[in-house]
Subunit: 362 residues, 2 copies
């Protein structure tokens, strides 16, 4: 995975290489029973949702621990660029990081299972797999190979399909389309006949304006409004097939984790779990309002992607995700656990949120 | 509200009146900085989901506080019956309770907004209103009138429509039907032409067998399987219109809450928030498996309620819920806040979980 593959804040404001990061390395405990940690984030400074939620995690840890564990937050690029977060935490240059595990496909493709998979699960379903379907143990096993441990720590909920410069009426309109798309979903798009391109946030607007790309996905109305895509791409389709939820992670250096007493471990894990629901619901609460601004003030045309595009995207997604099982033993076991859970969840969905929402819409 | 109005564990095993409860009253702090609390629950002992989740909340608080706040759990009837929990916590006979706020309709009908409303919201949407739509502040204002504070602390997710002795093919089949139904949804059922009856868990099976009732709602496959309704009512319809999520609460005596230092307050609130998602996802993870047992082993006929039943139930629900606004000022403000949020959430649903699940099912 290249530099340009990263979703947020990738190059912007990167000021420190590994030398500066090492200089900033903190001793695990500053005095008896007291700790100071650095939290790197993959988000631009004060990024609404994921970024402000990461700050709430740090604040809750400090309050619950009565100041025995203080955490200082660094936005993407302040200490290391977003895409170096994994290695910085792994090497102990920072004790923890708030990010999205599908940024680490170059470490192992199965990392995507703990963030978002094309054609996957909603936030509630995803967390049911993580907490009660075996997901968390598998995640710990995978990250353990890198000297890390991680906990679920937020999510975006369902993401929009994206912004398009021209109308999409059928699968044929996707052929030849150049579209920004991260993660395993990029491969799905390529197999649909489009051309997936990845680039960080700051490059998207000029690329849409110049015609380097014809379309882009980003997150949802609340975050998308701020970036101004409506100025150059009038068609806003949703939901997407690619992220039924894009979960965030609190990843922690294993040695730093093990240096904590049991009560502080429970507090750190707990603060992540609180915001695991907190950040998702903040997106849900803000998306509807932002959509109104896009439609009423900026005259954005909002609609669903055509059924044949959705159907084919979900079909191909199943193939792309299944290929992770061929990588190695842990990849196979993660795929099999998730796949069994997904089958059950999809089968049960007409009796759960999906069925209720459908009845409500009659 | 009468004894028999309560959902779970109402009379069963009730051993203590107010005298015993008073004798069990604990001093708020047992030694400097150390506290021992009682948590009453509205659930039978070891009740899967809500009951075992309440125990996890207590365990997490003890671990995160390094034993400075110990909480002893009491099932419904062990100290006071389920339906006396509100008053027992209010009067300080126990410091806190894990229950469902729609059990307290006799205190104020608006309590239902913090648990479940017919035709309402999914778990994710409900929590978005609570955390980021103004719900929590209104809840604190309402419970403050009773010397209580409460935090969201779990939920069942979407509940099934219920168990029926005869097939339901249209709205006409609901006329004259005697059905167990709690909360404001009972009034909806009555306006549909059915007759709502309320009774605690233990009375449902004999009532179905003797024909006192023709149908009952309970929770979902995971909890319903254990009660054996499939033996006398072969038709299992879902989802219901009545509980898109039935949220649980951690209610706390205000004086006990204020006696805690800030770090322990954050830990108590935090533990409730962790299990707010935890309990919901435990239901989601277990319902699909239990449904397979019901269908494959017990040959239960599972289906959706007819569209005209769902449509009319949702229509009447809106009227019944709106009537809470007429009670008083706080009732009106709670209704208006919730109603505005619900309109936005329903409008946005085709771009959120609902739209994603629909695309996935194509």
């Amino acid at each position: 995975m290249k530099r340009r593959d990263f979703l947020a804040g990738a190059g912007a404001g990167a000021i420190a290489g590994s030398g500066a990061a090492k200089a900033a390395r903190a001793a695990p405990a500053v005095s008896s029973g007291h700790f100071e940690w650095k939290m790197l984030t993959a988000w631009p400074k004060n990024f609404p949702g994921a970024g402000t939620g990461a700050q709430r995690i740090a604040d809750r840890i400090e309050t619950m621990s009565d100041g025995r564990l203080k955490i200082r937050l660094f936005a993407a690029g302040e200490l290391v660029p977003a895409f170096e977060l994994f290695d910085a935490v792994r090497e102990g240059n920072a004790e923890c990081g708030h990010s999205a595990s599908y940024y680490w496909l170059n470490k192992h493709k199965a990392t995507a299972f703990f963030c978002a998979l094309p054609g996957g699960l909603t936030a509630t379903e995803h967390n049911a797999w993580i907490y009660f379907g075996g997901g968390l143990d598998l995640w710990h096993e995978l990250y353990g190979q890198f000297g890390l441990i991680a906990f679920p720590a937020g999510g975006t909920g369902v993401q929009m399909g994206g912004w398009f410069r021209k109308e999409i009426n059928s699968l044929a309109d996707m052929k030849g389309l150049k579209m920004r798309m991260p993660g395993l979903a990029a491969e799905v798009l390529n197999r649909l006949g489009a051309t997936a391109v990845n680039m960080p946030a700051g490059e998207i607007m000029p690329s849409l304006q110049s015609g380097v790309i014809d379309a882009t996905e980003w997150i949802g109305p609340w975050n998308d409004l701020a970036l101004g895509f409506y100025k150059v791409a009038p068609y806003y389709y949703g939901p997407g097939f690619h992220e039924g939820n894009s979960a965030q992670e609190l990843m922690i250096n294993r040695a730093a984790w093990e240096a904590l007493p049991a009560d502080l471990q429970a507090i750190v894990r707990g603060a992540a779990e609180m915001e695991n629901l907190g950040i998702v619901t903040e997106y849900v609460a803000n998306n509807a309002d932002a959509l109104k601004v896009l439609v009423e003030k900026h005259k954005v045309k909002v609609g669903a992607l055509p059924d044949d595009v959705m159907k084919e995207s979900f079909r191909i997604s199943a193939d792309v995700v299944a290929e992770v099982a061929d990588i190695d033993d842990i990849g196979r076991r993660i795929y099999e656990s998730w796949s069994k859970f997904r089958n059950d969840a999809v089968g049960y969905a007409p009796l759960a949120d999906y069925g209720f929402s459908r009845g409500r819409a009659l």
